[in-house]
């Protein structure tokens, strides 16, 4: 191993060497700089390799040939190695990125950059307090220099503000150091740590000063106005280093200091960290300048790591894994994002639309956002999982809540930004694509994925990047250059193959879900053949969703369940976002979903009580009173996905605005994930009581209300896809209701809904999508009379609505029949009333759907329409066949499930003997019904044909119309506000109270952020006052009070 001191020596030596070169030899100077940074990186990398895999031990490096504490010593352990590697790599990439600037500014600038990198390594490596101070001052000064590289004139002011603040910091730090020295007689950190008891008697105040000074270097909220200004105005390459490298180094310094301070200072670190995390994220909400947003986000992330540092007393061995995971994810993503920002001309968040023409850059952007938010399979995900679990196990619930809340806000503005990029009107500015800059960005992407892989390997839960479905989904990223039909075929084969592979291992319940997800997914994908071109971004997202779903149903332990859950959430978000006007809806989808996911995470964490390998079956062993809380968290989490009333507002927009073949995926299939989760939950935990209230009873009410309000809102929609979307809320309400009944038939009904809802909702979305494609509108009143032009779509919708409404003889009736039998044994009767009210309302919107589209008056502009494309019709016809078959032989699927459910509810199962299905209360013979109705219908039809065989087809306006002949289809098509009387009577129930509630909440957060961020008045002097105020307040809170 090369002595780690050579990192410092190389940096410094090269910086000095540059002075020997003539000012004109810029290429040589630049080459030397790069070589030096590469050498430094290589040294760090070789240490990482040796310490992580080579079995090398942590090394102390003495200087001056004297042992510490009498001379300065350095230490190279695994964390140091990783961090120095991070710093050096970031600097190397920054140097590459800064090529043009470097050439312009000359060797001095290069020297400053080298010293900056060296000083950060020094902060990381040194074990001497005063030496730490020296390196800090070096970073301060080199920061001052590097700020000058910016083309932004405002950077000067920002740099000056920074210097003011750092003056205050260094004064405090020096006073702290000297008194600490006085108290312990040493400057060595380890020496002080071993004497911490003594120090704390005489010098806790001295320690406070040191601590607060170093913490202030982390730019804690709210004493960080200067930092934000730098982030905003400095050269992006430098902001990247400041955020990624300097932040990491400063955090490590705090970590060292906490060694001295001991456990009693951990809560202080935690408090400062969490306040920063939430405060900065909140303020970021109101930002629309990209670099400032990233600045806030940096502060937030560093705050989060500080919080983790403050939890080291409980984190034990996983401390480095967690803190490192979050820190690394932050560093890579933030550096990458800043580098990206250098490619974009405009400074508004919306200016990033310029990236849109470049799929690879978009991919980079997505990677960075995912890293930052902590989505699987990135390190932050594993780290967050372990962190939350440990917090829950140690009863630090408040902190857990705050962390998740902050993370949600963060995800909110980051995803909002992503939505802007994908959906907002593109600016005319192009991306400034100099190859070396782009290469640097890709370097960060590679680093991100490498980190993801490494963290996965280190994780005790197994590497997500080793799971086949995820790899399959990610593999589509490499196939993006292929045309749609090839990718589509591969996707379909993949889904079916995975189903066949898993088939022997599924239990009946899983089988039903697997069939809906995989086979059903493949069926829907058939419709994707209608798309031409390459459809970039569709397949990775769709397959990610399917991968998540496929992994969800086979998950055994809570970790793989949650990882699958997040994967499908993210995948579906990207899918939904593809719709033309779906930006706000996709955003609300992802926020609600992530909120739900966090609740699930919290639920699992509470349930596991520190057991890292937590089997889902063990949910049943969670004891009172914890179990009720676990149940509640998980249930709410799952219900967000099924769009139960109260958390449903994301669904209509998301489903309606999605692309034609995406709507059936997210409606027909994705909603089932929530149901599966609820199944899993109820299967393992059963009934739970909280303060004497039966929670399943509450769910019963929620289900009933969802059914009622979902249906009610559906009837007032003018937009066909929105109507279907609201109908999904209602349908999911039914399924939820069935589950919550906690009896055999209730569950069977819920399963029946799983299958039925998949079939008919997919079919209806496809038909409506095809029609919208042809007519160019989704407003139903603009259509009409399409039955003759699009007969196949009509048949699909007709069969679909008969099935949805539950009218015999189609399969929907089976659902209703089981439902009635189920409620006969249910414990609670009152919620039934609401469900009863909801039932007939379904007729209203269904009739409206078919009537206003297909019947009534054909519009002039539609007279030459053709039937929907073949590939949209094909799956619909398959669904029609399925519905008919399922209507006649429902037992095919259900009897196995029925017997499977016997293990949970032995009583009140169904009897499948012969052709008639019997329950304890009634009977039902699907084949007979079909035959009887068919016969009667055929007879009557034959009779009509006989008496009325010469009927003549007449023209559209040939009708009895109060002595006039109508001549405009628009005035004759009764379609708009179809159920006006209903609105008069019950419209008050559809007041968007829930929407208003959530809007008020987000508005509140936004206006809070908008108001409070005026605190950052821009005056450097005031910032210094903030800093001193921060010191005094922390002092009062910690020492004084």
């Amino acid at each position: 191993m090369v002595n780690a001191i050579f990192i410092i020596a190389t940096g410094l030596g090269t910086a000095f060497l540059l002075g020997l070169l003539k000012d004109e030899w810029r290429t040589a100077a630049y080459g030397i700089t790069l070589a030096a940074l590469a050498l430094m990186s290589w040294i760090a990398a070789s240490w990482v390799a040796a310490l992580a895999w080579g079995g090398a031990a942590t090394v102390d490096i003495f200087t001056a040939g004297t042992e510490p504490p009498f001379a300065i010593n350095l230490r190279m352990g695994l964390p140091e190695a990783v961090l120095t590697l991070l710093v050096n790599l970031a600097s190397l990439l920054a140097a590459v990125y800064l090529r043009d600037t470097m050439f312009k500014q000359g060797r001095r600038a290069m020297a400053v950059l080298l010293i900056f990198a060296m000083a950060l390594c020094g902060i990381i490596l040194t074990r001497d307090l005063f030496n730490l101070f020296v390196f800090f001052e070096l970073t301060v000064i080199s920061t001052g220099g590097l700020i000058l590289l910016s083309r932004d004139k405002r950077a000067l002011g920002a740099g000056f503000k920074y210097l003011i603040a750092s003056q205050v910091i260094s004064i405090l730090l020096l006073v702290g150091i000297i008194f600490s020295y006085h108290a312990t007689g040493t400057l060595n950190i380890d020496g002080m740590a071993s004497m911490s008891a003594q120090l704390l008697q005489g010098g806790s105040l001295a320690f406070f000063l040191m601590f607060i000074a170093i913490v202030a270097e982390l730019k804690p909220f709210p004493a960080n106005g200067w930092a934000l200004d730098i982030y905003e105005s400095a050269h992006p390459a430098f902001s990247a280093m400041l955020s990624a490298a300097a932040g990491s180094a400063a955090l490590f310094a705090v970590d060292k200091l906490l060694l001295i301070g001991g456990t009693q200072w951990l809560p202080v670190a935690t408090a400062i960290g969490i306040v920063s995390f939430i405060g900065a994220n909140l303020f970021a909400l109101a930002q629309n300048v990209d670099r400032r947003t990233l600045g806030y986000s940096s502060i937030a992330q560093i705050g989060l790591v500080l919080t983790v540092l403050g939890q080291r007393d409980i984190l034990g061995d996983s401390y480095l894994y967690i803190a490192g995971g979050i820190l690394l994810a932050h560093a890579i993503s933030k550096a990458g994002l800043y580098w990206l920002s250098g490619l974009v001309e405009g400074r508004e968040l919306t200016a990033w639309t310029a990236l849109r023409g470049r799929p690879l850059l978009i991919f980079a952007f997505v990677t960075f956002l995912a890293l930052l938010i902590g989505l699987p399979p990135f390190p932050g995900f594993y780290a967050k999982w372990d962190l939350i679990h440990t917090l829950a196990a140690q009863d630090r619930i408040m902190l857990l809540t705050l962390i998740l809340f902050g993370a949600l806000i963060e995800a909110g503005y980051l995803f909002r930004w992503f939505g802007y990029v994908i959906k907002r009107e593109q600016t005319t500015e192009r991306v400034a694509c100099t190859p070396h800059k782009v290469a640097v960005v890709y370097g960060a992407v590679i680093a991100g994925w490498t980190a993801a892989y490494l963290w996965g390997n280190l994780s005790p839960h197994g590497n997500l990047l080793h799971t086949l479905p995820l790899l399959f989904a990610l593999g589509f990223l490499l196939l993006e250059w292929l045309p749609v039909w090839i990718k589509n075929t591969i996707a379909i084969i993949g889904l079916v193959a995975w189903f066949i592979l898993g088939f022997p291992d599924y239990d009946p319940l899983q089988l039903i879900f697997a069939a809906v997800i995989l086979i059903g997914g493949a069926l829907i994908l058939l419709s994707s053949y209608h798309v031409q071109g390459r459809r970039i971004g569709f397949y990775p997202s769709a397959m990610l969703m399917y991968a998540g779903l496929a992994m969800l149903i086979t998950a055994d332990d809570s970790f793989s369940f949650f990882a699958a859950w997040e994967s499908l959430t993210v995948g579906s978000y990207f899918l939904i976002l593809r719709g033309k006007h779906s930006e706000p809806h996709a955003l609300s989808y992802i926020i609600f979903s992530l909120g739900g996911a966090f609740l699930i995470l919290a639920g699992f964490a509470l349930a596991s009580q520190g057991v890292m390998d937590f089997q889902l079956q063990a949910l049943g062993q969670v004891t009172e009173p914890l179990s009720a809380w676990v149940f509640m968290l998980l249930a709410i989490g799952f219900m967000t996905k099924t769009a139960a009333i109260g958390v449903h507002i994301w669904l209509p927009g998301a489903h309606a605005e999605a692309e034609t073949d995406v709507s059936p995926m997210v409606s027909g299939i994705l909603l089932k994930a929530g149901l599966f989760g609820l199944f899993m939950l109820l299967m393992n935990m059963g009934k739970q009581q909280l303060y004497g209230i039966e929670l399943t009873h509450v769910m019963l009410w929620i289900g009933a209300l969802s059914a009622l309000l979902g249906n009610l809102m559906a009837i007032f929609q003018e937009d066909a896809k929105r109507l279907l979307a609201y109908s999904s809320i209602g349908q999911m309400g039914y399924a939820l209701f069935g589950l919550a009944m906690m009896n055999h038939l209730g569950w069977l009904m819920a399963l029946m809904f799983v299958i039925n809802h998949y079939i008919y909702k997919s079919m209806l979305f496809l038909s409506v999508g095809g029609i919208a494609k042809r007519t160019g509108t989704r407003e139903m009143y603009r259509m009409g009379g399409l039955i003759t032009l699009m007969p196949l779509s009509f048949i699909a919708v007709l069969i679909g609505i008969i099935a949805v409404s539950g009218v015999p003889p189609l399969s929907g009736f089976g659902g209703r029949w089981i439902f009635y039998n189920a409620i006969m044994t249910a414990d609670h009767r009152l919620p039934m009333i609401i469900i009863f009210l909801a039932g007939p309302i379904a007729f209203l919107y269904l009739f409206r759907l078919i009537h206003t589209i297909f019947l009534g008056q054909l519009k002039d502009e539609h007279r030459r329409l053709k039937e929907a494309p073949f590939w949209l019709i094909l799956p619909q016809m398959i669904y029609v066949a399925c519905l008919l078959i399922f209507a006649v032989v429902p037992g095919m699927a259900l009897r196995h499930v029925d017997s499977y459910l016997n293990q949970f509810f032995p009583n009140h199962g169904l009897n499948w003997e012969g052709l008639t299905i019997t329950s304890s209360f009634g009977y039902w013979s699907p084949i007979s019904i079909m035959l009887v109705i068919g016969t009667i219908f055929a007879t009557v039809l034959a009779w009509l044909l006989f008496v009325n065989r010469k009927a003549q087809k007449v023209k559209q306006f040939n009708m009895v119309f109060a002595a006039e002949r109508p001549y405009r289809p628009e005035t004759t098509h009764y379609a708009w506000n179809f159920f006006a009387p209903y609105r008069k009577a019950l419209g008050f129930l559809t007041q968007p109270l829930v929407t208003r509630f959530w809007e008020a909440l987000t508005d509140l957060l936004h206006s809070l952020a908008e108001l409070l961020r005026r605190f950052y008045c821009g005056n450097g002097q005031t910032y210094a006052i903030h800093l001193l105020g921060f010191v005094v307040v922390v002092y009062l809170l910690k020492v004084g009070l």
């Binding site: 410094l12 910086a15 001056a64 020297a111 006085h182």
Partner: protein, 234 residues
């Protein structure tokens, strides 16, 4: 006004912190562990009579390296900043300055060599007497200042200054690295014999290092002064 009040309140808070530091402070009667080690071992280990120098150059040599770097960095940045400024202002015609007085001119002719000599003395004897590279370097730079005062238009070679600066720095580091190879670690002064206490050629490489520090500091201060002065002149 409110601002002043707030500041006063905050300073009262900070003052309270300082006050309790002060009240909790009891001067040591004995040297503490580290200081005692230095007192007892410096002479034989390092061979420097001036313990502070031993600490600065050897025991805490890394700090000193950082210190030198601070100056280097500042000089570089000041150069960077002012170079940018000059580029913009180079078009402007130079301001005519009044002649400096006879007294100043003659005085500086007389004093400059003496000052330079003193500076060199101070840093060469840094391991023996109070003084050292930083002090000596500053004295060197004061000579340059004097020359600049006498003739603000005087041109100094940036190139020379920067080569001097760089070479001194490189030598410092090289010696440090040599310490790893030939002695106990980075910046170990014992690659040369420690000699006998109190002699000029003693204390290993300390005098050499300190001399180069002196040169470097002198060069850096001069570079800053020259840069500032040229900006002023333009």
């Amino acid at each position: 006004m409110i601002k002043r009040l707030v500041v006063l309140l905050l300073l009262a808070g900070i003052g309270a912190i300082f006050m309790s530091l002060l009240l909790g402070y009891t001067p040591d009667n004995e040297l503490n562990l580290t200081a005692r080690y230095y007192a007892e071992h410096t002479a034989q280990d390092i061979g420097a009579a001036n313990i502070v120098t031993a600490i600065i150059v050897t025991y805490r040599g890394l700090d000193t390296l950082g210190e030198v770097t601070v100056l280097f960095l500042t000089a570089a940045i000041v150069g960077l900043v002012l170079a940018q400024g000059r580029q913009q202002n180079s078009q402007r015609s130079q301001r005519k300055l009044p002649e400096s007085g006879e007294l100043l001119q003659t005085g500086s002719l007389l004093l400059t060599p003496l000052i330079l000599l003193l500076g060199v003395y101070v840093f060469v004897n840094g391991h023996l007497t109070p003084g050292g590279g930083f002090q000596g370097g500053a004295i060197l730079a004061s000579a340059i200042l004097l020359m600049l005062l006498t003739d603000p238009m005087r041109h100094f070679s940036h190139r020379l200054i920067s080569v001097l600066e760089s070479i001194s720095g490189l030598i410092f580091i090289t010696i440090g690295v040599l310490g790893i190879i030939y002695a106990g670690g980075f910046l170990d002064n014992r690659i040369l014999p420690t000699g006998s206490l109190g002699q000029l050629f003693s204390a290993g490489v300390i005098p050499i290092i300190y001399s180069f520090i002196g040169l470097k500091v002198g060069a850096e201060f001069s570079s800053m002064l020259v840069n500032l002065s040229e900006t002023e002149g333009s």
